[in-house]
């Protein structure tokens, strides 16, 4: 009986009519996290590729940091998904017997492609030379770690290193569509559910993609500032300004697309329009209008917009960049919330609403969700300890060192 207490509580919160099976909201906080974490990965990778492929030199300082951040979050991205399953021990079935008409079935493969072919390879080629050098200098465990990570490829002649660079560049080029695929695909998982008018939109994958870029770029901005602070170094303002400039443009695109989606809904005003407008002005008012749109989009847009014309002094910009990146990260989190939770608050009968209350404990609870936020940052800290981008030698330094 006790296990149903929260359901009885939800039943008392039902407004209007929901199908009896709808009182229990199926996808909770962890499924909000899943597109959020995946989005951060895709966005962080795009930030890295800005330097590598699009030759934005100012972002050289954040290139490796972006890749390592993407890896740290990607390693965790599937965990909320698996831990919310009714039978987590059967998760591998999705890989060995995928049902190919399901939008969800391919995720495992898209994920593995991205992890193994794109991120790990790119990082390996980027760090191989350094790992060979570090293996020579380091002692104890670290020395062995580097030796293992080089996979025995110890040739660091200029010709081989040039090939490392060439292959790395090629992988980044492949990586960009892969990042688009990774997150556009996550959007499709929701966008293709025709039973749910709040999700079912052809724009959903595109919106997911651009919001992923917004959140990923904001994350790199934040991580770069925090890492610089921890290392007691001043962050490179040119890099921050450049990130801010891209962030500004991508937010405009993202906001435009989301606006278009909503305007389209309002103008077409289909059967579901009444219930959705009640949802937006009622249950989602705080998380959508206040947090996502006002705090998470408009304020950052105004601040970053002003910076395109007028740049206050560095210390003020740094503080504001910190605030902007945090606001965006919170805003995009609630964008995922509004999609995932919002789409389940109204009944598919369009006659009423159920409620949602985040539980503290349990596999879907707040504590579990907190774990999946702390773990990627811990992995990132480990990666930065093992593969510090700031200890990599530039080609020039290397030539000097060799001679």
């Amino acid at each position: 009986m006790e296990e149903f207490n929260h359901l009885y509580e939800m039943l008392s919160q039902v407004q209007g009519y929901v199908y009896p099976n709808e009182v229990d909201l199926q996808w909770g906080l962890l499924i909000v996290q899943y597109p959020y974490l995946t989005g951060l990965v895709a966005g962080a990778f795009i930030t890295a590729s800005l330097e590598r492929v699009f030759n934005v030199k100012a972002l050289k300082v954040t290139y490796e940091l972006s890749l390592l951040t993407a890896l740290a979050f990607l390693l965790v991205a599937t965990m909320p998904l698996i831990s919310h399953l009714g039978h987590p021990e059967r998760f591998y079935e999705i890989m060995i017997t995928p049902h190919l008409t399901s939008a969800m079935a391919i995720f495992g493969f898209v994920y593995l492609w991205y992890l193994m072919v794109v991120l790990l390879l790119e990082i390996w080629f980027d760090y191989r030379r350094d790992m060979v050098l570090w293996a020579r200098e380091a002692k104890g465990l670290k020395k062995w770690l580097y030796k293992i990570l080089t996979l025995g490829v110890n040739d660091i002649s200029p010709k081989t290193v040039m090939w490392d660079n060439k292959i790395g560049y090629f992988i980044t080029v492949v990586g960009i569509p892969s990042a688009f695929l990774l997150h556009g695909y996550v959007g499709f998982i929701f966008g293709s559910v025709k039973a749910n008018p709040w999700w079912s939109s052809v724009l959903m994958p595109v919106i997911f993609l651009f919001s992923a870029m917004v959140s990923g770029i904001a994350l790199i901005m934040l991580v770069y500032m925090v890492v610089s602070y921890v290392r007691k170094k001043k962050p490179d303002m040119l890099a921050l300004d450049t990130i801010a400039k891209f962030l500004f443009y991508v937010i405009i695109l993202d906001f435009t697309l989301e606006g278009l989606d909503q305007i389209h809904r309002i103008y077409e005003a289909e059967e579901s329009f009444e219930i959705i407008s009640m949802l937006v002005s009622g249950k989602l008012y705080i998380t959508l209008i206040v947090v996502q749109v006002f705090l998470g989009t408009i304020i950052p847009l105004v601040i970053l917009g002003i910076f395109q014309f007028y740049k206050p002094k560095d210390s003020i910009r740094r503080v504001l960049y910190l605030i902007v990146s945090l606001l965006i990260l919170v805003g995009i989190f609630f964008m995922r919330w509004n999609v995932v939770i919002g789409g389940q608050l109204f009944s598919k009968s369009f006659y009423g609403f159920t409620g949602y209350k985040t539980l503290i404990v349990g596999s879907e609870g707040l504590l579990m969700a907190t774990v999946w936020v702390i773990v990627p940052f811990s992995i990132l800290a480990f990666l930065l300890w093992l593969l510090p981008p700031w200890k990599k030698l530039s080609s020039k330094e290397l030539t000097e060192a060799e001679s």
Binding site: L11, V23, G86, H99, T101, Y351
Partner: protein
């Protein structure tokens, strides 16, 4: 001026009648259920059984015995959040506002919460899995644990379902839930353990008014096809093109 307007409206009326009538005649040339099974594909082997279900709203008295019998027959948890079938009471008041209720799925019966003088119309709608021919739940299952049987029933393999709940999201009719003990998706099986032995479903067995009927869509002379021939049956949410095989007689447009 007045006469002209009357004439025009009469002409419009005749035109519309001709269109509707012509359409109906055209539709009747098709197989009787092809017209209701929106854009359906061929039901496979015509010589074999293809299960479908009919609910006659005119006959349902909202006693809720079907929902209760289903829970007993199929070990559905007794709590009011898990139903393989349930009954909804629709009441439309004089201001054309729609009130829907289904306390405990209708198992304990219904009270009319509106004042009698305010009721424009009231009726009961039993709900259950539509055993769609092109079911979104089968489409989205990432491991293929939800599947169509060759005789047209949508089932879930308990030993295979990973409990991702995508099917629950994909069902437009709210017919699925996650079984709180088994942690897998659960839904109406059309009492497959009974119908495959020549018996009828638990819900049909207990219905005191014969509002529910199961039958073979491939059997042109069977009672189900005959019923579809004689009555104007509709499916729920036809615009979603799920190929629903649950047909309702006297279905109001308000029902969703």
């Amino acid at each position: 001026m007045g006469t002209k307007r009357v004439k025009n409206s009469r002409r419009d009326f005749l035109k519309k009648t001709a269109i509707v009538g012509g359409g109906a005649i055209a539709a009747s040339i098709l197989n009787p259920f092809d017209a209701v099974l929106i854009a359906s594909e061929d039901p496979g082997d015509k010589s074999k059984v293809w299960w479908a279900y009919v609910i006659d709203i005119d006959k349902c008295i909202g006693c809720g015995r079907c929902a209760n019998a289903c829970k007993n027959e199929n070990d559905v948890p007794k709590e009011p959040f898990f139903f393989r079938t349930w009954v909804e009471q629709y009441t439309i008041n004089n201001n054309h506002e729609v009130h829907v209720e289904s306390p405990n799925g209708g198992i304990d019966g219904f009270d009319q919460s509106l004042d009698k003088s305010d009721v424009f119309k009231s009726f009961f709608v039993p709900k259950m899995c539509n055993h769609c021919h092109k079911s979104p739940c089968v489409q989205v299952c990432p491991v293929g644990a939800t599947y169509d049987t060759p005789d047209g029933v949508v089932l879930v393999d308990d030993d295979y379902c990973i409990g991702c709940r995508y099917c629950v999201q994909a069902c437009p009719y709210g017919c699925r839930y996650i079984h709180p003990e088994k942690k897998v998706a659960d839904k109406c099986t059309l009492c497959y353990h009974r119908i495959s032995k020549g018996k009828t479903t638990a819900c049909i067995e207990v219905c005191p008014t014969g509002a529910r009927m199961i039958g073979d869509l491939n059997d042109d002379k069977g009672p189900l096809v005959k019923f579809l021939k004689k009555h104007n049956c509709l499916v729920l949410k036809p615009h979603l093109n799920t190929g629903s095989k649950l047909f309702y007689n006297s279905l109001n447009a308000e029902v969703r």
